[in-house]
């Protein structure tokens, strides 16, 4: 019993009653830390969502000037920044990663709980710094979530280039450090602390998704950290990493010279493309598990699912140039990036077919979680198809920086990841809080969200093909865009429905947390290990470390008494040969 997993277990087995602060604030328990992350990121989602509503209100009737031009750009920038960095990235790793990893691999906690706590308490100040940037003179950053240099590097360059931009860079730098702490823990825990019998070939796909996410974060976040460091030096210490010679700002030549503005784009997108996959690989895993559970069928093509996750992760480091087709790159290089980008469509398609095949002819249980998971597949396909258009550099020369791109990434990344987060929340809520969420409300939430998303983002493809560029303050003043102004009004209406639907979720979440019916251990009759622990699990998760005998997808095994076989059920002769795929 002197394995690391068992040792960690013993360390956690005896824990005296803790003080309030130890238990709720500076907790070392992965579940509490995960919930802390969940609440803070949920709050950030509300901040980011409100900014989006502001932008849509403005775009419904731009001539009224609800926002002035600088504020509009700042709202867009902070919307993207908050949503990508402080909501999606953090909820997937910080909240789901923390809650699920130890529970799904049968460990008592993370490898290094103290570092885990430190990760949250580094994240928290970065949130405060970002929020503070709304209140500094000049307001928050306004140069897009990508903060292209030299706009972002020269404080006088635009209203959103002042102190707010500096705080933006500082906040994200700190967030990257916090994520790094998290990734170190995730990888170490998954590699070293899996329960006895839980080989890598028996890991649930959720854990595979988070595992590969953590590898991507480990390799790509430091690159952004270096770029942010250079940016901060440019802004505050007079260096010129990103500021070219002879730059004119407000009629004056900037005293910096010799820098390379494109360097920022290369470094940013070397981080940025893996980052967008950081936001989708975890969701792919979550969706696989939810679909398999509620189809009461093994996930189709487990090995292909794992390999395609890994392939996407690997390829994501080779495609960053597809964001820079219009930067004047050599056409040969552009063609190379076109090809590498299109190759990513192959593992993506494999995953899609496997989800559909899993659903095919299944006795599907239409829970809210399942609906959101299937919604994810739909959104991912819609957004993936527009991605292939954009990957062709000759097409992208026209579509770059138009609403077509906005539509693409809101489907494939923003909405898809959001749907997986909802699926995961409805699915694991009973485990996290020991209570059930309200299913009818969940379904209303699903229908309105699904329609709201398509209503909001699908028409944006047409705005894009019409030539409307993104981040445009007054589309209605351009004659060639006058004909699509009604579309913009429609989009704003759909966006308000979408926003309002989220209030249902928030109500459902908190009222279920306080008053929902008590959850049993395994309300969905699922196989993975977390369902063998109490709901919610105590500190240390299990009195005895679980032992694993099978892969997580033994649903509807012929000859078994029930239509599910939890991973802890020993292989009985009657259906021992029920599945071979879990072995390797």
């Amino acid at each position: 019993m002197d394995t690391p997993a068992a040792a960690a277990h013993e360390a956690h087995a005896a824990h005296p009653r803790e003080s309030f602060i130890r238990h709720y604030i500076f907790s070392l328990d992965h579940k509490t830390i995960g919930k802390q992350y969940y609440f803070v990121t949920l709050f950030m989602a509300i901040v980011g969502g409100s900014l989006a509503m502001l932008m849509r209100a403005h775009l419904a009737s731009p001539e009224r000037g609800i926002l002035d031009p600088g504020t509009y750009l700042q709202a867009a920038t902070m919307h993207g920044t908050v949503m990508i960095f402080f909501f999606l990235t953090t909820i997937l790793t910080g909240a789901f990663g923390n809650v699920l990893i130890p529970l799904m691999i049968g460990a008592g906690d993370m490898a290094f709980p103290f570092l885990n706590m430190l990760s949250f308490w580094t994240f928290f100040p970065s949130v405060l710094i970002l929020l503070a940037s709304f209140f500094v003179p000049g307001g928050p950053a306004g140069n897009g979530w990508t903060s292209y240099a030299p706009l972002s590097a020269v404080p006088q360059a635009s209203p959103g280039s002042g102190l707010g931009q500096t705080l933006w860079a500082v906040a994200i730098l700190i967030l990257m450090i916090s994520s790094l702490f998290g990734s170190l823990n995730f990888l170490t825990t998954i590699i070293n602390m899996r329960a006895r019998g839980l080989s890598m070939g028996r890991l649930p796909l959720t854990i595979w998704g988070i595992f590969i996410t953590a590898i991507l974060a480990l390799l790509s976040f430091p690159v952004l950290m270096a770029a942010l460091t250079m940016l901060l030096f440019d802004r505050t210490a007079g260096t010129s990493f990103f500021i070219p010679s002879g730059l004119l700002v407000g009629g004056q030549i900037v005293p910096h010279n010799g820098g390379e503005a494109l360097l920022w784009q290369h470094l940013f997108w070397f981080f940025g493309h893996p980052e967008v996959y950081i936001l989708i690989l975890g969701p792919m895993g979550i969706v696989s598990d939810v679909i398999s559970t509620f189809s009461r069928k093994p996930i189709f093509g487990y090995t292909a699912m794992v390999l395609s996750l890994a392939a996407i992760g690997f390829l994501s480091f080779l495609v960053w140039g597809h964001h820079m087709f219009v930067s004047g790159m050599n056409p040969v290089l552009g063609a190379t990036f076109t090809i590498s980008t299109m190759i990513i469509a192959i593992p993506s398609a494999i995953k899609t077919f496997n989800w559909l095949t899993t659903l095919w002819q299944a006795r599907i249980q239409f829970t809210t979680a399942l609906l959101f998971a299937v919604g994810f597949v739909s959104l991912f396909v819609t957004g993936g198809l527009s991605g292939i258009f954009l990957a062709a550099s000759p097409v992208d020369l026209y579509f770059h920086d138009t609403y077509f791109v906005v539509a693409h990434f809101h489907f494939v990344m923003a909405a898809a990841a959001l749907f997986a987060i909802f699926a995961g929340t409805y699915y694991w809520f009973p485990k996290m809080f020991g209570r059930m969420m309200n299913e009818p409300l969940g379904k209303i939430h699903f229908v309105l969200t699904f329609l709201g998303i398509y209503g909001t983002f699908y028409p944006m493809h047409f705005l894009g093909t019409h030539g409307m560029s993104r981040r445009l303050y007054t589309p209605s003043t351009y004659p060639f865009l006058a004909s699509v102004q009604p579309l913009d009004i429609f989009i704003s209406g759909a966006a308000f429905v979408l926003g309002a639907a989220q209030l249902i979720f928030i109500f459902n979440f908190f009222s279920s947390m306080l008053r929902g019916p008590r959850a049993e251990r395994n309300p969905w009759h699922a196989n993975t290990l977390e369902w063998t622990a109490d709901s919610p699990p105590p500190h240390g998760n299990w009195p005895e470390p679980p032992v694993v005998y099978r892969w997580p997808y033994d649903y509807s095994v012929p000859g078994a008494a029930e239509d599910y076989l939890p991973q802890t059920v020993p292989a009985a002769p009657a259906y021992a040969s029920g599945h071979g795929g879990g072995e390797q």
Binding site: N185, T188, T189, S199, P222, S240, F241, F270
Partner: protein
């Protein structure tokens, strides 16, 4: 024994290693985590060195280091840092043998070499600054020449200083019998990394 059987045994071993309930490489979590951190940190330095090379290849001319810097002095710094890796390895070896006193001595030597390196780095910086190098520019050529120098060697220097504190704490813990040889080995990984990265920085900034 046939190769087939050997293969099968190896495969069986691999399966056993990865089948859960143990660390597949028999690595403690601390050591594994340090390895992962170092991989990540290497990416930070790689990005900064890319920044240096982009600036350098993009500028019309790059100053000749022979005329500006004392390359023998820097070579001596490099030798000192490499030697400190050797004493570090000896400290780990001694700790594994249970020779605590010896381990502490070797650690002290490593720390001394680290301090010497940091001191020489400071001399190098003040020399460079006295000649007119600044973050904003320098008398010899494009500003990138001096600001990449300061930012990159500065980050490395911060790693050295952090390493000195780390090793100091480890020496204290070893002396008081609080740390295992494993703990010292982890510190050794870090120190070796700081040394290895310097070789890349040294060649990019001074040699090439």
């Amino acid at each position: 024994m046939t190769t087939g059987a050997a293969d099968a045994r190896e495969r069986g071993d691999l399966t056993a290693r990865w089948s859960g309930g143990r660390s597949p490489w028999d690595l403690s979590w601390g050591k594994l985590m340090m390895w992962l951190f170092l991989i990540s940190d290497a990416m930070t330095f790689a990005a900064l060195l890319v920044g240096l090379w982009v600036a350098r290849l993009g500028s019309p001319a790059w100053p000749n280091r022979l005329e500006i810097m004392n390359l023998q002095f820097v070579a001596a710094m490099t030798v000192i840092l490499i030697c400190s890796s050797t004493t570090m390895a000896l400290a780990v070896y001694a700790a594994r043998q249970g020779a605590r006193r010896q381990a502490v001595w070797f650690l002290t030597a490593t720390i001394a070499a680290g301090c010497l390196f940091a001191g020489m780095q400071a001399t190098e910086w003040s020399h460079f600054i006295r000649e007119g190098a600044r973050l904003t520019g320098n008398p010899w050529g494009v500003p990138a020449f001096s600001f990449t120098f300061f930012v990159i060697t500065g980050l490395h220097g911060a790693h050295v200083l952090g390493g000195i504190v780390y090793l100091w704490i480890m020496a204290d813990r070893i002396a008081r019998g609080l740390s295992s040889a494993e703990g010292l080995e982890i510190a050794g990984l870090y120190w070796g990394f700081v040394d290895l990265v310097w070789v890349f920085i040294w060649s990019s900034i001074y040699l090439l």
